[in-house]
Amino acid sequence: MEVTIRNAPSFANLLVNLYPGDRIVAEADAMASMSSGIEMTTRWNGGVFRAIARRIFGGESIFVNEFKSTKSGHIVITQPFPGDMACLELKGNTMFLQPGAYIASEPQVTLGLGWAGIRSFISGEGLFRMKVSGYGRVWFGAYGAIFTREVEGEYIVDTGHLVAYEPTIGIRVGMAGGIFSSFFGGEGLITRVNGQGKIYMQSRSFEGLAAWTNAHL
């Protein structure tokens, strides 16, 4: 299986070339086009209850689609908003993805839902997070461009910009400045990322878009 991220960073999509016997799991409704010989099977996103929990708390679909090819073919997988995509290669390690970021993965990757905690909820990152572990590649998307950083110690990210992080990274909520400047300076709450590991961030945030749109209505 060969996967290329095309049209990045603005309108990234995955071109997946499948060889006979290859399989790929993708978020429901992520398929934009595919060769006629590819079979699609829909299954619960990891068991009925987990799937429902993932839908309610993780912002993911109840169902995922598995695409399988008996002969060679290709499939184009996309995400609903404009932005970049990135690939993670898991070798027995774990990564956390923000709700809605997951796009596709190889079949050996385990998709799970992890409790993210009240701190994460207050900082606008959601009460739950998607946990991907196992072996294989995972593709995830973001709104805007994706940029990464190797954190060692503490780093500050505005709420809504964190997309993915390693389990070695801790998250704390904080105020951008004092009480006054935090709320009138437009920064409000920020996310304090600490520990050691890699974080993936998006250059735009949905809250930012919503606020900007509202101002022009």
Binding site: E166, G170, N194, L217
Partner: protein, 373 residues
Amino acid sequence: MHDVSQEFFGGVFNDKIEGGRAAAKISIHPQGLVAETLEEQRFEIPFGECQLDKGGASGRMIFCRNNDRSITLFCEERGFPKALESLSLGAFSGQLRAIQQKQRGHEKTFWFWLTVGSVMTLIAGVIGYYALIATTQAAVAALPISIDENIGSVAIKSVELHARLDAGHVATKLVNDIVKELEPHSAIKGLNFRIMVVDEPTVNAFALPGGQIVVYTGLIKNAKSAEQLAGVIAHEMAHATLRHGLKGVGQSLGIIAAIQLVTGDVGGLLALSTQLAQESILTSYSRKSETEADLEGARMLHEAGIDPKNMADFFQMLEKLEGDIPDLLAWISTHPQHADRIARIENYQKQLPQKPYRLLELPWEEVQNQLAN
């Protein structure tokens, strides 16, 4: 050596690894910690060099770094800290305790600020709510009374008045005469009171902004005297003169506007306002408005020389009737408890200077006979 070691699943950070990190098997040996990656790279930190830290996404992950921080081992398994403590023969007891204390400190700070934040939000909400009400009340007072009249004439169209008695009917004349007695004593002048009497058994009466008053014959029939009827009409006139309709709309709109300002959704405001205006005028006034109207009505009665006790008597009568006539519920459901109202009116009356009250010279018997036929 291997028989005393214990293995855990975790990972390691080091520049020699491709990508800088890898999942690894971590084993605790008598001399120190050893991490072995899947690619069989091996990293070792002797106990003497090991700096512990706790954190990670779960807050439970234990990190172990060597002196120059070139190697970082990490493990999240539950038994790891305990095994580390026992297999290192207590070398980490101090470090582990310090970590635990630090974490507890963080927890405390977090919950402290969460509580402070919640309380402040609540206080700001309450202050904001009352400030908003005060502002809208002041704003409404500044608006010309013609706005009340416009709203009232729009609102009356959505009321079904099939069995409306004509202006020449004795009952309509009676109510008009009562209004004329009270009008000179109303809080604002120049309000054009218009009376509609509807021939329905409902024991109800209501006022619309601008001075339109609807009285159902059921209410006239159940009143024991013209003075009792005057009590109810004074109450309804007070709603109009105190501009409760407009205040209600203003308040609801103000609250919605404030919510939208906070949540950022401004688009829905216009769509909601029209619907809300009609609803809040026609459904009910708030209990606070009802109490205000009771007292203002009592004042008007007193000024007009009619005993305000008649209003209280009417409520007392309603209370007795309540079980018998289900139609009564229409008026009662939107009005405060009778006992409270009666007590409030009586208290208020005590504060008023004593004066001789009169009886209204109106054809009460004739009206009752006409309505009975």
